[in-house]
């Protein structure tokens, strides 16, 4: 095909999108929904991976002591923990309940600090006495934690490992559910796009019959419809990246207090922006192409009547 024809046909395809704008908007909407779900799953995975790698390098277990222990008892528990196998006594520290509270309040930021300071004025504290135990060899994690739990006066322990387990479970659940939702939405998108193209095609029935009568090849007739499908996919891709950027920003803002407590640094959007854009474009272009080619080919095979009344 001549470059001139390609330019003409691209123009025709874009014109079709505009003339058929209600359906075009519907197609873009459905495509965006499926892309957005995929994008959210990817953003979540990216962050879980980052949390995981920081957790895996952490060798610290926070050990919470029972309430109502005397100061001597607290000291004794602390010493026992320090003397356990696989515990590094030099890096293991004791944090009093007041210190623990201060630390938490500090991490939450000044607004919260003031608010909670009022509340805890009478020396109340919700934080237990804590020992921050540091391990030498992470391979022996499970045995070490079991030994800590056996020490008299230990109430519970908290390690980021628990968080890791929760996060990976959630991530895996999202990924499995996500795959099915995305497959389903992609199929819906395919149906909607092919309906959009079909409507354009019926609006263009007359033009198609004239094109055939004056000797247009099927490729030539098909081209604008393919442009229409592809363009819908491309528009949806860019819009979805934009929407996801905003949502991601909002989510980080909303989760800010929690993120700060955890001392976590979310993955910047720009880290995975290009990956999701590429995935969206691939998804959009492929589904747009498939939908339009299937629809127009079916039509061209069935309708052969250039001369008979339409």
């Amino acid at each position: 095909m001549k470059a001139r024809s390609v330019r003409y046909l691209i123009g025709e395809g874009l014109k079709n999108i505009w003339l058929n704008r209600m359906m075009s908007i519907a197609s873009i909407g459905v495509l965006m929904a499926s892309m957005l779900l995929m994008g959210i799953a990817i953003a979540f995975s990216e962050n879980v991976d980052r949390v995981m790698s920081s957790i895996e390098s952490q060798n610290v277990v926070m050990v919470f002591l029972e309430d109502e222990l005397t100061d001597e008892q607290v000291q004794s528990v602390y010493e026992q923990i320090k003397s356990l196998d696989n515990i590094n006594p030099d890096e293991t520290t004791y944090i009093s309940s007041n210190q623990a509270l201060e630390g938490v309040l500090h991490e939450m930021g000044p607004e919260y600090e003031e608010y909670f300071n009022q509340y805890f004025e009478e020396g109340n504290t919700i934080m237990p006495e804590t020992v921050r135990a540091s391990m030498i060899d992470l391979e022996k994690y499970d045995q070490t934690v079991a030994a800590i739990e056996n020490v008299e006066g230990v109430d519970s322990y908290n390690s980021s490992r628990d968080l890791a387990v929760i996060l990976t479970t959630v991530r895996d659940a999202i990924n499995t559910a996500g795959v099915w939702i995305i497959v389903l939405l992609s199929l819906i998108a395919l149906v909607i796009i092919s309906n959009t193209v079909r409507i354009t095609m019926f609006n263009r029935k007359l033009e198609i019959s004239i094109m055939k009568a004056v000797g247009a090849t099927n490729g030539f007739i098909r081209f604008p419809f393919m442009i229409e499908g592809i363009t819908l996919g491309v528009i949806a891709s860019f819009l979805t990246v934009g929407v996801e950027y905003l949502l991601y920003k909002l989510a980080i803002k909303a989760l800010d207090p929690i993120i700060k407590i955890l001392g976590y640094n979310p993955v910047p959007f720009s880290n995975f922006m290009w990956i999701i854009l590429l995935i969206f474009l691939a998804l959009g272009i492929i589904s747009g192409l498939i939908a339009s080619i299937i629809t127009i080919s079916k039509y061209l095979r069935r309708e052969g009547s250039e001369f008979s009344a339409l």
């Binding site: 033009e207 004239i210 094109m211 004056v214 250039e306 001369f307």
Partner: protein
């Protein structure tokens, strides 16, 4: 070489453009539309096809433009063998002909100029060529002034003249028209056929199906008559 050919043409050594050799066509439902049709139309001829309703005239046209396939015999159109025409060759065949429709088939959202330019986009013509050829064709049919009008702003006769301009814009070697005057009033019908005669005088072969018998008599051309799928008469001079 070209001038020699033109000399041969004008000196009467006719070259066949369309040849039917023992052609049969039966539709899927068993209707025998054409039986043993033999006919030769030479380059530069003007031929009317007449006959009662349902006699097979449109079928005859559809075989020429390869909208329908023949069952037996052979049809040659512009060197294309219709019995063994491959799908990919259909567009090439169509580019040698200009088709005029009874119901005009103008695209309502395009103005007159754009309607006539439409077939030129299909063959990838340049903007300059398009401007040149479209204004030539519109002037020929007397609608140079209405280039910017939409089809609905024109009379039936004018719309069909746009259809004619569109059919000849790509310089086809033949114009094929199935009842082109069927939807225009009788006075306008004469204008349309006058135009076809003028186009024919400039070298394009014209094949026209019509029911307007008085019109056929007045134009003094070759007339082929079809009845129940058979050619029953083939005379010069508007006689049938």
């Amino acid at each position: 070489m070209r001038t020699i050919n033109q000399q041969i043409l004008s000196s009467g050594a006719a070259q066949p453009l369309i040849e039917f050799k023992g052609v049969y066509k039966t539709y899927d439902n068993g209707t025998k539309a054409l039986s043993d049709v033999n006919l030769r139309i030479d380059k530069g001829e003007f031929v009317f096809i007449v006959g009662p309703s349902g006699s097979g005239k449109s079928t005859f046209i559809k075989l020429i433009i390869h909208e329908e396939k023949l069952d037996a015999g052979e049809i040659l159109v512009n060197g294309f063998k219709m019995s063994s025409l491959r799908k990919k060759e259909v567009p090439l065949l169509r580019r040698t002909m200009g088709i005029v429709f009874q119901d005009f088939r103008l695209i309502p959202t395009m103005n007159v100029f754009e309607n006539v330019a439409f077939p030129m986009h299909v063959v990838g013509a340049s903007k300059r060529e398009i401007r040149k050829r479209v204004s030539y064709a519109l002037n020929l049919v007397g609608l140079g002034r209405k280039a910017r009008n939409l089809p609905r702003e024109l009379s039936g006769g004018e719309q069909q003249r746009v259809g004619l301009a569109r059919a000849l814009v790509n310089k086809p070697s033949m114009i094929i028209a199935d009842e082109p005057t069927g939807n225009v009033d009788p006075n306008m019908a004469y204008e349309i056929v006058d135009l076809l005669a003028e186009i024919n005088r400039r070298g394009t072969t014209v094949l026209m199906v019509t029911h307007a018998h008085q019109l056929v008599r007045d134009f003094d051309k070759r007339v082929v008559m079809i009845e129940t799928g058979h050619i029953v008469a083939d005379n010069a001079g508007g006689v049938f």
